[in-house]
Symmetry: C2
Subunit: 343 residues, 2 copies
Amino acid sequence: MQMDDRKWTILKAIIKTYLETGEPVGSRTISKYPDLNLSSATIRNEMSDLEEMGYILQPHTSAGRIPSDAGYRLYVDRMMEEKEQEVTEIRELMVQRQDRMELLLKQVVKFLAANTNYATMITGPRLHHTRLKFIQLSIVDDSQILAVIVTETNVVKNRMIRLEHGLDRETVLKLNLLLNTNLNGLTIEQINLSTISKLKEEAGIHSDIVSQVLDAVAEAINQEEDVEIYTSGATNFFKYPELSDTAKASELISTFEEKHPLASLMLPSEIGEDGENSNIQVYIGQETPLDTMKDCSVVTASYDMGGGMYGRVGIVGPKRMDYDKVIGILKNLTQQLDELYKK
Amino acid sequence: MQMDDRKWTILKAIIKTYLETGEPVGSRTISKYPDLNLSSATIRNEMSDLEEMGYILQPHTSAGRIPSDAGYRLYVDRMMEEKEQEVTEIRELMVQRQDRMELLLKQVVKFLAANTNYATMITGPRLHHTRLKFIQLSIVDDSQILAVIVTETNVVKNRMIRLEHGLDRETVLKLNLLLNTNLNGLTIEQINLSTISKLKEEAGIHSDIVSQVLDAVAEAINQEEDVEIYTSGATNFFKYPELSDTAKASELISTFEEKHPLASLMLPSEIGEDGENSNIQVYIGQETPLDTMKDCSVVTASYDMGGGMYGRVGIVGPKRMDYDKVIGILKNLTQQLDELYKK
DNA sequence: TGTTAGCACTCGTCACATTGGAGTGCTAAC
DNA sequence: GTTAGCACTCCAATGTGACGAGTGCTAACA
């Protein structure tokens, strides 16, 4: 069977009306569609074909049709080819308080959730390939030293280091100098065991305590592996009857509360084959890696703020999601994020 | 009408069975209760009295009785008098990673949620009355200075300060000395406008830039007003049919997602009149300050880790909550928290 | 050959009546 | 004061039938 132009128009019409209403759509409804000028009977024949081809299906014998996963997939794929998204302005949002990454990300997901009526999520930026700007050790008290680490992108991390014996001011000063002359400008990955052991040699004196401190610093630098995930709008699931029965809603919202499982939806994007659009990833129904979301669709996009700070942002909603709008918004948002730190 | 001993036993029996089943309880059920040896007819008479007194009510004419808010209230009040809670061990939980407050709190709410099957929340400790341990300014680049502030309780805060003109090393060193000699040992409240303006005078030179820096530091110190709230187990609401219809569940879970509204449930405890127990606060049904929770009960308890770090932890569940157990666990938990930092 | 009108058929939904049982209140007897 | 018995109430579960939306098929039409 061939997918001709008329079938495609009908399929689009079915999907669009289903997106709006959430209810199976019948042949008569489609026959009223302006672009088409066919009787319901003809539509029925075409629908029958489309069903055979696997793009739509019937919940029960005498109901209308709803799109299948394959139908959505076709729709989304053609959509992304056709569309080159116009850029609307979301920037005002960004301007407030750039200084604290966490707040920014929370604002972003909240904004997204409010504007799409779906559940949203974002991963904090990974710090790979980020260079160190400086490190500062300070004496807190007899048994504790505070390490403050600042990256090129102004992300600040603290680490309290407990020691059995205190260190005197001089040693700390020396260590600061040592750390800064040797590590500044290096990326996180470049600071590994061998770098550290070289430092240890160079330090020489007090080698036991010093190496304790250095180990702690190295650990703090590399610790960033557990990426934070921020979410918002989990209760939006209730807006879609097909997801809001107790069992499903409970599972979905739990997943959003736990946050960790979401990581599997937000893996670093696959290698972009065709440049531009490849950073948008769409999972439809069964395609999603999370079992809880087999009745949902997931759209994610990656952002890259430069300086090695990159992450993913995404939304989760019913399969009858307004893909068009969602993809548009995500593209736009990531573009804004990309430019944010380049200024 | 007098509340005699038999009425009290019957009321307790009604509440307990209702807590378990969630369904109106009839006279026959109660008549089987081991402590009582009465026929269902007698129970009915007593129930009729209890209803007149306002402690129980009938959802409809031919249904069993359920406890009213007043009934729960009486139950809880007597409960808290009677009970002196035995201390079970939750401590292992605490031992892992004390160093990061945030992780600890997240663990605590998760633990609570898992053990009670209710939704749980905790406020991060306020920093009032906490003394400063030290402040460290560092030059990040031409236009930025990083302020690191450490409190007596080892809570660390960073603040990036942007300036139009850079500062030279010497000035920063002087400022560090100035800040540390004047502010160390003071509590957060003691550092107010007048303290700062005194500092500004003392600094003298460069007064415009210096005052910018000082203002930023003061702001960072006092900024702690927006207390973080951590939550867990919001989806536990689904476990109770009376809360899991779409509208109610959606509202409740939204409230838990937003977090801010919960603050009104976690206000600093009222002045303890009778010492020991007064830190437990129970809201039943309409009593709670949040409208969304008028079908719930809320139990909160305060913890005080010493050094001015205190906060509240609480749980939210259906009115038929296992008050006995919950109060026990909360008492125990807060006791553990109280002792945690005293070691 | 493609399109359309018509018709019988399917099946879920809604309104309504029916029934069973749990629970009550009241009364009379112990 | 306690209890057994009985009539009564009302919810919840179940069944029934009408309705309507939607289909597939067939036959007629352009």
